[in-house]
Amino acid sequence: MSELLEVRNLSVSFDTPAGEIQAVRDVSLTVKTGEVLAIVGETGCGKSVLCKSILRLLPDIASIKTGRILLNGADITDYRERDMCRLRGRVFAMVFQNPMTVLNPSLSVGAQIAEAVKIHSPGMTRLAVEQRTLELLRLVKIDHPEERCKQYPAHLSGGMRQRCVLAIALAAEPELLFADEPTTALDVTIQAQILELFREVQAKLHMAAIFVTHDLSVAAMAADRVAVMYAGKIVEIGTTEEIFRNPRHPYTWGLMRALPALAGGRRRLYAIPGMPPTLIDPPKGDAFACRNEYALAIDYEEQPPMFPVTETHFAATWLLDERAKGLEIPVPDFGCSDAEEERGELAAEPDILLDVQHLTHVFPLSKKETLTAVDDVSFQIRKGEIFGLIGESGSGKSTVARCIMNVYRPTGGSIIWQGINVCNPKAFHTHKKLLQSARQIIFQDADDSLNPRKKVCDIIMEPMKLQHVRPPRGTMRAEAAFWLQRVGMDAAYLDQYPSALSGGQRQRIAIARALSMEPTFLVADEPVAALDVSMQAQVVNLFKQLQEELGFSFLFIAHDLAMVRFLCNRVGVMHQGRLVETASAEELFRHPKHPYTRRLIESMPIPDFSWGVSERRQDR
């Protein structure tokens, strides 16, 4: 296999008013023809920037400081926009993270694919272009391509759109496909399908690919080789087998241990402490040192070089240095231990807090058509219980949550909360104050749910003000500071705006805001879906800890099965508006009864590092 792409000592910086952000620092890698390289890392570690700088898609404030990019041995670092245009599509292609926004909403998907076909073969007749478009749609397994062709992106689901984006990428049979988190925005089952399709197409066209993801399990399923990136640098690179069987860098260990699928009965998920550094002034030594439990003194002084582990496996950690050989390094175990759950089994059936009976909610689409989002759903949540609700997007989970929180008025059924029928407007009004303070909700995206023009302390204080709560800790500000510390943040953040904080911190503020009312019932609508693996672990640990301390009942909505399994006592599975199965978490995962639950569990990307990798490679 010849080397298709070679990146040598690439450094990319952004010139911002705050200073120079060194997004990519001294990265070297190669991709061979037909090979899949996964780049793994947290948000902001520079993996997307690395790809976009190779493709020259970055805005003008970004520039390549040093390094060369070689394509088939030819230097393309200094190519101008005109030359890059010729390479894009034909040699390089890209699939993006969010299929909802990357398609032009006002052009039919057929036209968008046809455009990609035409641009690289201008002489093609209209009929031939049409044929080729249909052929591409068939290649990415879209049914009824003739009709789909004429539809607009708004008519298609997320998975379908991602297939269309892939079809566009494949239009000119590129040699190297960049996939930037192609499955992150999709549901579990769709994610599995797209991943499958991706591998199939990649093998069929014998195309090389760079697969960017923050999800190690996805990388394990898709890639031949894996590069782990942290703070703009590649800290470990090797074949998939080497990385997952014999990881050498502490950061890789941390990422792997943070996966809820590997929690295996532990009471807490492992979370890498702290946050990635900002890259305006990268630390002098190893950027990971301050979060590294195994950091050596030299880590704070000098950046580690790449130490070879094998011919194909390199890691940048001083732990591999000659001088560190003598040290006893407690390599963590990643295997799923079968240690029996010591999950706090609830003592003898506590009282029912929330009783949802035959809940139905219908949205009117037009005068004649309706959409039944929730169809006859019944479940109970007991006091002090964590109830998980899982299902794909559009299965009605959020609608259930919103009905419970009186955002929507259900079409049918009843919701009894502590003896109060909250669907009844009269009852709701009599108990308005209680209902509004004792039940709180946390939304998926703290970005959108926190008012960007309010300071953190105002955000936390607002519900208290609205409900005229007498703050138990003197002033409201003291109260806000208390809850901020309770969710693991410093009181110094009180006077900052949400935009100055990271996603994980914002979600913590949303939690503090909800908890400041000391609710007895908390609803969290996909609270960690927008976060990175390591941040997810931190936030989920926080939920678990707070729930144990404060004892509120908790409705946890998620699409991440492993997370639900780790956190929840009981789980309900929703499918197309119906609650198809309810069982205790362990029972559900060990003995799923409904076929849909089984399908969900099967499509879970479980990184079974011990054997899965080698087996998959044999059947290729």
């Binding site: 898609l57 245009c85 993006f96 969010n98 641009i119």
Partner: protein, 335 residues
């Protein structure tokens, strides 16, 4: 199914249009009669002040001003359906003839002005977006900001002073020189100054809107995908971004019609241009009810028609805006 739906949509639009015109006529009719002033003054001039109460009664009876307002309105409506809009109190002639004689001039001035604004604003906006934050862009934006602050009448006066009085290049007023009614060159020469004023005073605002909308689109994610196909900057800007800007631009320009029309009225007054701008102003001032009704109906119809047609054009270009689908998307989004 599809064509049925389309006809339904069209019928709905026409109904909406007629209803709007009706409401407009009622409003103008009532409000104009509530405004202070004496319509007899415009009919009889100074004589009206010396009339005895009996004479006034008789005169008001003759003009049909004695009946309750709703009776007057119904009467007016009946006549209007027959095509009779009454006579102008001030000019003592059929308002249709009066307006008909002048409307061509206004349509010519406003119409050409509007088309020029439409085309030039688009061109300037695209040019700015193409050269974003470079010299050309900055210059155009600066000049635009300054010019759009200058009121039209001042700009007109300055224009007359410079080009008509000092340089004597262009005529200062009217639509044509005396005796040269059918001379095309002469007409064009008379149009240049008022037209420039209208275009210059409106152009920048819309050019700026196009620029900002385009730059918003350029930052959208689908541009990345378009670039990854191998499209160059021109193809992305014209094939994708501009296409998505056009619906917004059409509706904006439809909303611009009343502004440009209003501007035309002012410019007409300054240039003593024989259009309906001057007429409208006078009719409102002198309580010339019949003339006022016809002129406001005419202006209103143009404005409403432009809005409705802009919506239809936008829908053809942007499938998301289609009425029957719109609500569905909203609902699905909320899920």
């Amino acid at each position: 199914m599809n064509s049925k739906r389309r006809i339904e949509g069209l019928a709905q639009r026409v109904l909406f249009f007629l209803a709007s015109v009706f409401v407009l006529s009622v409003l103008v009719f009532y409000v104009s009669r509530l405004a202070p002033g004496d319509p007899l003054v415009s009919y009889y001039g100074d004589r009206a002040e010396k009339m005895s109460p009996e004479e006034r009664e008789w005169a008001e009876d003759k003009l049909g001003l004695n009946a309750p307002i709703h009776v007057q309105y119904i009467c007016w409506l009946q006549n209007a359906f027959r095509g009779d809009f009454g006579i102008s109190y001030k000019y003592k002639m059929d308002v249709k003839e009066l307006v008909g004689g002048r409307i061509g001039n206004t349509l010519l001035l406003g119409g050409i002005g509007f088309v020029l604004i439409f085309v030039l604003a688009l061109a300037l906006g695209v040019c700015c977006a193409w050269h974003e934050e470079r010299l050309a862009d900055r210059m155009i934006c600066r000049i635009g900001t300054i010019t759009s602050c200058i009121p039209e009448f001042w700009l007109s006066l300055a224009g007359i002073l410079i080009f008509a009085v000092t340089l004597r290049w262009l005529p200062s007023s009217g639509a044509y020189s005396i005796g040269k009614e059918n001379d095309l060159g002469d007409r064009v020469r008379h149009l240049i100054l008022p037209l420039s004023v209208i275009v210059i005073s409106h152009l920048w605002y819309y050019a700026y809107m196009v620029r900002n909308k385009l730059l918003e689109e350029v930052r959208a994610e689908y541009v990345l995908l378009a670039r990854m196909k191998g499209l160059n900057k021109r193809q992305v800007l014209f094939g994708h971004c501009l296409r998505n800007v056009m619906p917004a631009y059409f509706s904006l320009m439809a909303l611009a019609v009343p502004h440009v029309l209003g501007g035309t009225y002012i410019v007409e007054t300054v240039f003593s241009y024989p259009g309906i701008g001057t007429l409208t102003y006078e009719s409102a001032r002198y309580q010339d009810y019949n003339l006022l009704m016809l002129l406001s109906l005419f202006t209103g119809i143009i404005v409403i028609f432009c809005n409705v047609s802009a919506q239809m054009v936008s829908e053809r270009i942007d499938p998301r805006l289609r009425m029957d689908d719109q609500r569905r998307y909203e609902e699905v989004d909320r899920l």
